[in-house]
């Protein structure tokens, strides 16, 4: 629920920049007004657990973003700094305004509110707008940058905001050219001077798949088969925007398996249905085959790990038009244990919220991405 409070436009200009003191003053007066306007007398509580910088472009749907941020700030109330950046506009423009985001807490009538500063920048001000962000951050709480676009490599704004942030959130599923962009992302993280910490929303979407695959090896009966895996079949739907490419989700899953299980990349080969990674676990060869399905929403449709030439297999796949997930562990002809689970796809807001709950570096993701980077490098 959005508190009906003023959205205050602040005078700003490309030549004078943003008046930071004025913004802070406006925020303070907004809080005292919110308290006065609270007719229920239940109280307005300001909560601040994070700074969230959101980089958006004119291509983003503002209403959709607003709804998403309502949900995110429910889970992580704090200061949101929205940078609406139009790089292609000729006119240099710099505008700012402040507002609050509130929600009612249960039946108590109490409102929990966070605050939002929106900065619109276009033309030449794009390169300098980052300098207005740092002074607006609330001290002592983590800073997240949600880069709602393909990362702009060697871009001054991206570089500066990324340096300010404790963690940068991206989404590799929206990459225009998944393979090329993933390779660039991998290279950027590897070469990052300031230990760039990245959260990839696509990696978050893989958590369910990774959990289900990992849970096979919690079972003592299956554990010995882990070292005997010889084939991995990853069926995926490529993104509609790049139907000839492999979905980032599929690549990251393979990268994760290889990095966790110490499989060394030997070669990458193209074939009729997709590509294959050839890997070695010690002296034993392993093939990871990516099989392309019809293009759609960039995703995985099933993963099957086979051991001992197919004598045992471990399967996770979509079921019932993607509404459920089926798992099955099959050993020989007689033994099969599986289950069907509801596959509740989390919204982008929930996905982003869960990324915001983890401030540290995700080394498992970085290791998976390194394998993907190495494979894509050898392919190119």
């Amino acid at each position: 629920m959005r508190l009906e409070t003023q959205v205050t436009e602040l005078t700003a200009s490309p030549s004078k920049g943003l008046d930071i003191l004025k913004i802070e003053k406006q925020l303070t007066s907004m809080w005292s007004d919110a308290g006065t306007a609270d007719s229920s007398h239940s109280g307005v509580t300001r909560a601040c657990t994070i700074n969230l910088i959101v980089y958006t472009t004119p291509a983003d749907d503002a209403t959709e973003l607003d709804e998403l941020l309502n949900r995110v700030t429910e889970l992580h109330p704090g200061r949101t700094l929205i940078l609406m950046v139009d790089r292609h506009a000729k006119e240099a423009k710099l505008d700012g305004y402040v507002s609050t985001r509130c929600r009612l807490l249960g039946a108590t009538g109490k409102q929990i509110c966070g605050e939002q500063v929106t900065i619109e920048a276009s033309g030449a001000t794009v390169d300098t707008v980052a300098s207005a962000v740092a002074p607006l951050l609330v001290p002592d709480v983590p800073v997240y940058l949600w880069w709602k676009d393909i990362p702009h490599y060697q871009d001054k704004l991206f570089d500066r905001l990324a340096q300010t942030a404790d963690r940068v959130v991206i989404d590799s599923s929206v990459f225009d050219h998944p393979q090329e962009d993933l390779l660039r992302l991998a290279t950027m993280i590897e070469n990052s001077r300031h230990a760039l910490q990245v959260s990839d929303l696509t990696w978050g979407r893989l958590t369910v798949w990774r959990t289900l695959l990992a849970s096979f090896w919690d079972v003592p009966d299956y554990r010995p088969l882990l070292s005997s895996i010889d084939t991995v079949d990853v069926n995926f739907a490529p993104p509609e925007s790049a139907p000839d490419e492999i979905a980032p989700k599929a690549l990251l899953l393979a990268g994760w398996l290889a990095s966790r299980l110490d499989w060394a990349l030997v070669d990458v080969k193209k074939n009729a249905s997709g590509i294959e990674f050839k890997l070695n676990c010690g002296a034993d060869p392993i093939v990871v085959a990516f099989r392309r399905g019809p293009a759609g929403k960039s995703s995985i449709t099933s993963v099957k790990l086979s051991a001992r030439g197919g004598a045992a297999s471990f399967y996770v796949g979509l079921h019932s038009a993607g509404a459920k997930l089926q798992t099955e562990a099959r050993i020989g002809a007689d033994h099969s244990v599986g289950r069907l689970l509801t596959y509740e796809r989390r919204s982008d807001a929930e996905r982003l919220s869960s990324e915001l709950a983890f401030p540290g570096r995700d080394r498992v993701y970085e290791a998976a991405l390194r394998v993907v980077g190495a494979a894509l490098r050898s392919l190119s």
Binding site: G106, A214, S215, V337
Partner: protein, 517 residues
């Protein structure tokens, strides 16, 4: 190898996963499967844990009760229960069928050795068919008089001994005994067949998020622990109030009363977390060692202390949430001249360096003004008052309130100047609410506790010494009250109020008052 190096026997795919704990394959065997707890809490909690992927596919449930029922009948009943008592209220048929494949039912007579032999055969078959690896969790959700017999039968059938590399655990529901003697007897009976490490005495209060947060609050923050002692704390109030009456459980409650039903278990568990010393680490034994250590320092209740520092009550007719409600003696299954206490206040002292002289006022009861469980730490007043008495008139000493239910959170009350030319000082609250800071649905206590048991973490379960110490402390109170029936005339408080006047007088006599919870 990088920072997330793989240890021996560790599942390499689990390394670095954000999920902190992973459960072994196992079978959960529920004694009392036709009972209310199985329907309302246990099966819905297990279903949710499976749906949250916190339990593996290699998992099974075996329901045991006297009633004759087929597997399919039991599955159908459990489906209805999950639909009725789970949060979502609806269950997908295909998903349920997949879950239900791992549910079995056997009509079992706890007195029949043959039934336990058959149970053993069934469990071996499940291990083969579902790869449940010989891991077994027996949940005793039967009448307390069957606890010892059930464990004995399991022992005789060889079901309490784990196979190499596997585990066998037993969860025992409350109440654990009805007095010190019966608790000791029960402990000795079950310990003939089980190791203490296999026994999980459940106290669902410990599964609540805020109770667990007590450890984080006290020991993950640097600013509170230095103040957590007699130098700065004037007294502590622990309120555990229920708005409901005995809800058709009059028959049971007549033999129990609030001291047996709530104080010797739930209230003491929470109290020990508030008063204990920092543990050496967060392992189950280290935490439980500190809990028993502080409870050992609790001052015993002499008859004089019971008279002077404890108050009992029983509710009469009144109203609750605007609705007239009967008195306790008019409830079903309750004797018209019952002397069972539905309310009690105890003044506890811990005779140790940290707490010497600091009273801990505990109050617990039924049909009180509202449902609330909270701990209020009242700090001492500032040593020197700079502001005049008239300015400070409205100001109370600082209080830290830890709310356990409902609306879990922490509040710090302190004094602040009211803006303006005139110096005016007023109390203000600094509030932390789980709901607002994390905006997440807190897990059901049974989910957390069942998962902890499957994971082998007994931190949130009561150990033998703690259950017996609880009884040791309350027995003199119960004995004194039993012999001294003329001391108090029941009913002595109206339903819907905060208990008998004597409970207020007890704390008022010491210059304080109960917090308006």
């Amino acid at each position: 190898m990088e920072a997330t190096a793989i240890k021996e026997n560790e599942n390499p795919l689990r390394v670095g996963m954000r999920l902190e704990k992973t459960a072994d394959p196992c079978t959960v065997i529920i004694f009392g499967a036709s009972g209310d707890l199985t329907k309302r809490k246990l099966v819905p909690a297990l279903y949710r844990l499976v749906q949250q992927r916190l339990l593996p596919a290699e998992f099974a449930i075996v329901g045991l009760a006297r009633t004759e029922m087929s597997d399919d009948e039991f599955r159908r009943k459990m489906k209805e229960a999950v639909e009725q008592f789970s949060e979502t209220k609806q269950v997908d048929a295909a998903v349920w069928n997949s879950f239900a494949q791992g549910i079995y039912y056997r009509s079992t007579d706890i007195g029949s050795t043959a039934d336990f032999q058959k149970l053993g055969d069934l469990l071996n078959r499940i291990d083969r068919d579902r790869s449940t690896a010989g891991n077994r969790l027996f949940y005793l959700s039967v009448a307390p008089r069957f606890y010892a017999q059930a464990v004995e039968q399991l022992g005789r059938a060889g079901l309490t001994k784990a196979k190499p590399g596997s585990w066998v655990r037993v969860i025992i529901e409350k109440p654990f005994g009805t007095d010190l003697e019966s608790a000791r007897l029960l402990n000795s009976q079950i310990l003939q067949h089980l190791e203490e490490s296999q026994i999980y005495r459940i106290d669902h209060y410990l599964g609540k998020e805020t109770v667990q947060n007590l450890l984080a609050f006290r020991f993950a923050n640097g600013i509170f622990e230095p103040l957590w002692n007699r130098q700065y704390i004037d007294h502590v109030q622990l309120t555990n109030a229920e708005a409901v009456g005995v809800e058709g459980r009059g028959g049971y409650y007549e033999g129990a009363g609030v001291v047996r039903d709530m104080i010797q278990n739930h209230v003491f568990q929470v109290l020990s977390l508030v008063a204990m010393e920092p543990p050496a680490h967060l392992g189950a034994e280290a935490v439980r060692d500190e809990k028993i250590k502080v409870m050992t320092a609790a001052r015993e209740f002499s008859p004089e202390r019971v008279m002077a520092e404890c108050v009992r009550g029983q509710y009469g007719a009144g109203s609750s949430n605007g609705k007239p409600v009967p008195g306790y003696r008019e409830e079903e299954g309750v004797a018209p001249d019952s002397t069972t206490e539905t309310f009690a206040t105890l003044t506890m002292y811990f005779d140790n360096w940290r707490w010497a002289g600091v009273p801990f006022y505990l109050r617990s009861g039924k049909r009180l003004t509202k449902r609330v469980t909270e701990i209020a730490i009242q700090f001492r007043e500032a040593p020197h008052q700079l502001f005049g008495a008239n300015i400070m008139e409205q100001v109370m000493p600082n209080q830290l309130i830890i709310r356990i239910q409902p609306d879990e959170g922490i509040t710090l009350r302190f004094a602040a100047k009211v803006p303006g030319q005139v110096t005016q000082i007023r109390d203000v609250n600094m509030d932390f609410r789980y709901g607002s800071s994390f905006g997440v649905q807190l897990a059901e206590a049974y989910e957390r506790l069942l998962l902890d048991c499957i994971l082998g973490d007994s931190t949130l379960y009561a150990r033998k010494d703690m259950t017996e110490r609880g009884w040791e402390l309350v027995m003199p109170i119960l004995e004194q009250w039993a012999t001294d029936t003329k001391q108090v005339s029941f009913p002595n408080y109206e339903a819907g109020t905060w208990g008998p006047a004597a409970a207020n007088e007890l704390v008022e006599g010491r210059g304080t008052a109960w917090r308006r919870s």
